[in-house]
Amino acid sequence: MQKRLANWGNYPAVASDENVFTQEAQLRKFVVSNTHMIARGNGRCYGDASLGEHSISMLRYDKVLAFDKENGILEAQAGVTLDQILDIIVPHGWFLPVTPGTKYITLGGAVASDVHGKNHHVDGSFSGHIIDMDIITGNGETICCSHTAHTDLFWATCGGMGLTGVITRIKFSLKKISTAYIKQTQIKASNLEEVIRLFDEYKHYTYSMAWIDCLQKGDSFGRSILIVGEHAAPEELSAKQKEAPLKLPAKRKLSVPFNLPSFVLNTFTVKAFNWLYYGKNYKKEMHKVIPYEPFFYPLDAILHWNRGYGKAGFVQYQFVLPLNKKEGLVTILKRISDKGWGSFLAVLKVFGQQDSLISFPMEGYTLALDFPVRNGLLPFLDELDEIVLQYGGRLYLSKDARMKQEIFWNSYPNAAKFAAIVQQYNTNNRFVSLQSERLLLTK
C-alpha cells in the first residue's frame, strides 16, 4: 500500500510502501526478492535519505537483546529508539556515549548517520563506540562487522545512509554516570569572535554548543550563548535531587497538533533566546544543575515541533568548515542574515578530529539552521554550497534534501571509495534512496 512519507522537515514527501518487519527471516526474504528499497528508522533525518520506492520500517524491529550492567555494554536490534534505551540504562548508572539533539531516533539511524553530539571534541561520533553490528547486505547475507572484522563494510555503513544494507543488530559501549543530572554553565558572548574564543577556553568541558542569534549586525554580529556541561556528581545535586540521583522527575509533553503558519516557530525561538539572553539573570555566566533531558533534548519537550514550520516544510542546512577557515563562517552567516530567510537561531559546535570513511564530522566548526521552504530558497542554498566547498567544508547528508551531486563528490574526499564499497555490498541496486539517486551513489 502506498503511503505519503516524509521525514522531519516535511520536505520532500513521497509515495512509498511501508514494509514492517519484526523477524530476521521475513526481512531477509523481502531484501532478496525486491530492489530499490531503503531502511527507515524514526524519520528524524530532515531530508530524503530514508525515503525511497519501498521502505523498510525498522520501528518494530526493536528488541533489546542484552545489557551488561557491570561493563556498560548494550546489544539491541536496530529499531530500538534512544529514548527507550535511556529508560533502561540511566537507572543503572549508564548513558549513551554519543547522543544527537533528539532522543527519538533509532539505533540504526544513529549508525547510518554516524551521529555526533555536543561531546564530539572529546568522544568522537557514534561509530567509535560500536563493538560490532550485523548487516543484511544485498545478497541477503548477514555480515557481522566491527573495527577489526569486515572493516570496509563497517566504515561504509557508519555514516553510509543505509546504502550498504539493513543494519539489524548493534552492540556498543555506554558511558558511566553517577547521576541523571548535568552541571550546566551558560556564558553570554557578545559576538562571533568572542564565542569562538570561548569554545576554545571551555574545550575541556565534555559537552558544548552555542545558540547564535542570526539577526544581529555590526558589533553584535554573532551574539550568542555558549552552553557547556558535565555529568553531575552526586554531591553536586540539591537535597531533593539527591533523593534519587538516577531518576528524573516525571514531565508532561506538549505537542503541536497540526501544521502552524511558519512565523509561529520563529516567534517562539526568538522569545526563548531573548529570555535566555536577557532573562531574569544579567550575569555573564550562569550555573545550574538540571536533568539530562532539557540539556540534551530541549526540543523534544514539544512533540512534533516541526509542524511549526507549516505545510510547505523546511530544510535544515548543516555544514562543517575546517578549523582554520573560520572566516568562511563569517561569510556564510553574513549571507544568511542579509537574506533574512534563515531561522533566527543557529546552532554552532566545534568538532574534534575524526578519521572515518564517509562520516560528516571533521575537525572544525559546524553550523546548523532551518530554512522554511519558499520560492528561491533552493538557488540560494546552492550559492551557500559553493562557499562551503570553497572553504573546504561539506554538508551533513542526514540533513540534506537538495544538494547537487557535484557538491557531494567534490566535498567528501572519500566519495569514490565509499561508492565502490557500496557497489560491492549493494548487489542489484537493492538499497536506493531519493538521496542516493540524486547524488548518483546508486542507480
Binding site: M1, Q23, R60, K63, L65, A66, F67
Partner: protein, 243 residues
C-alpha cells in the same frame, strides 16, 4: 510472580501485550509456531523488565499436540491470552478448501482445542483468567471477509459460553473485540486513522480491563457503537450493501 501464557506470541499485538504485562511484573510464557524466532522478544522482556520469560513451540492447528504442550509448561500460567489468528484470503477461501480450513482452524477450532484444556485446569484450581482476542468482524458476516468473520463469530460465542460456565468456579473469561489495529496483518490495507488502534493501546486496554474483570472489551470504544448500528441494519437492506 504471576505468569501469563501468550498463545501466538510473535504478532505485534502479542509483543505489546507481553511488554505491558512484563512491565507490571508478570513472568511471561511465549508460545508460537517457531519458538526460536521468539528468542529476541524473550531477551527483550528480561532486559527491559527484569522478569522471567520462556519460549515454547505451539501450533494452534496441530490439535493433538495441545495437551502435551500445556502439561509441559514450566509453571501453570495464571492468565492465558489467546492472540493467534489468521485473516487469510477471503476470495481464495471461497473456492479453495485448504485456505478456508486454515482460517477456520486457526481462528476457531485451534482456539477451542487449547482453551478447553486451559479451562479444565483453571476450573479444577478454581482460579485463573482466560482472554481471547476475537474481532468485530465476527459480529456480522460481510462479503469481504465472512470466512474469517464466521470463525471469529464462533470464537466469540465460545468465549461467551465459557465465561458463563466458569463464572461459578471463580475463573474469569474476557473477550476482546478489536476494530482495526495497526499490525502486520493490516499493513497492506488503508485503515481510517481515527478508528485504528496501535498495538500498545490494545495492550494497555487489555491489561486494565482484565484487572477490572471486564467481560467484553472493545478497542477503540467507538467500535461498540459502530457494531450496534451495523447489527441493527435489517438483513434485507444489509444484503444489498457492498461491505
Amino acid at each position: 510472580m504471576p505468569t501469563v501464557l501468550l498463545l501466538g506470541a510473535g504478532s505485534d499485538m502479542a509483543v505489546a501485550i507481553a511488554r505491558k504485562f512484563a512491565a507490571e511484573q508478570y513472568d511471561i510464557q511465549l508460545a508460537g509456531r517457531n519458538a526460536a524466532a521468539l528468542q529476541p522478544l524473550q531477551q527483550d522482556l528480561q532486559v527491559r523488565y527484569g522478569v522471567t520469560a520462556t519460549t515454547h513451540d505451539f501450533d494452534a492447528t496441530s490439535f493433538g499436540s495441545h495437551p502435551a504442550f500445556y502439561n509441559s509448561l514450566p509453571v501453570q500460567p495464571d492468565v492465558t491470552i489467546c492472540v493467534f489468528g489468521y485473516l487469510g484470503d477471503q476470495e481464495k477461501a471461497q473456492s479453495n478448501w485448504e485456505e478456508a480450513a486454515a482460517i477456520i482452524n486457526t481462528n476457531f477450532t485451534g482456539a477451542v482445542s487449547i482453551l478447553n484444556i486451559v479451562a479444565d485446569s483453571y476450573a479444577a484450581k478454581g482460579q485463573g483468567t482466560i482472554i481471547g482476542i476475537s474481532s468485530v468482524a465476527g459480529e456480522r458476516g460481510r462479503q469481504s471477509n465472512y470466512i474469517y468473520g464466521s470463525a471469529k463469530a464462533g470464537f466469540t460465542a465460545y468465549l461467551s459460553g465459557l465465561r458463563n460456565r466458569l463464572f461459578r468456579s471463580g475463573v474469569h473469561v474476557m473477550s476482546v473485540q478489536p476494530g482495526f489495529v495497526n499490525t502486520r496483518m493490516t499493513q497492506h490495507l488503508t485503515l481510517p486513522p481515527l478508528l485504528t488502534a496501535q498495538p500498545e493501546a490494545v495492550a494497555t486496554a487489555v491489561f486494565k480491563a482484565a484487572k477490572k474483570k471486564k467481560n467484553i472489551l472493545y478497542v477503540k470504544w467507538h467500535w461498540k457503537y459502530i457494531m450496534l448500528i451495523i447489527k441493527s441494519i435489517p438483513e434485507g437492506v444489509f444484503k444489498k450493501l457492498k461491505l
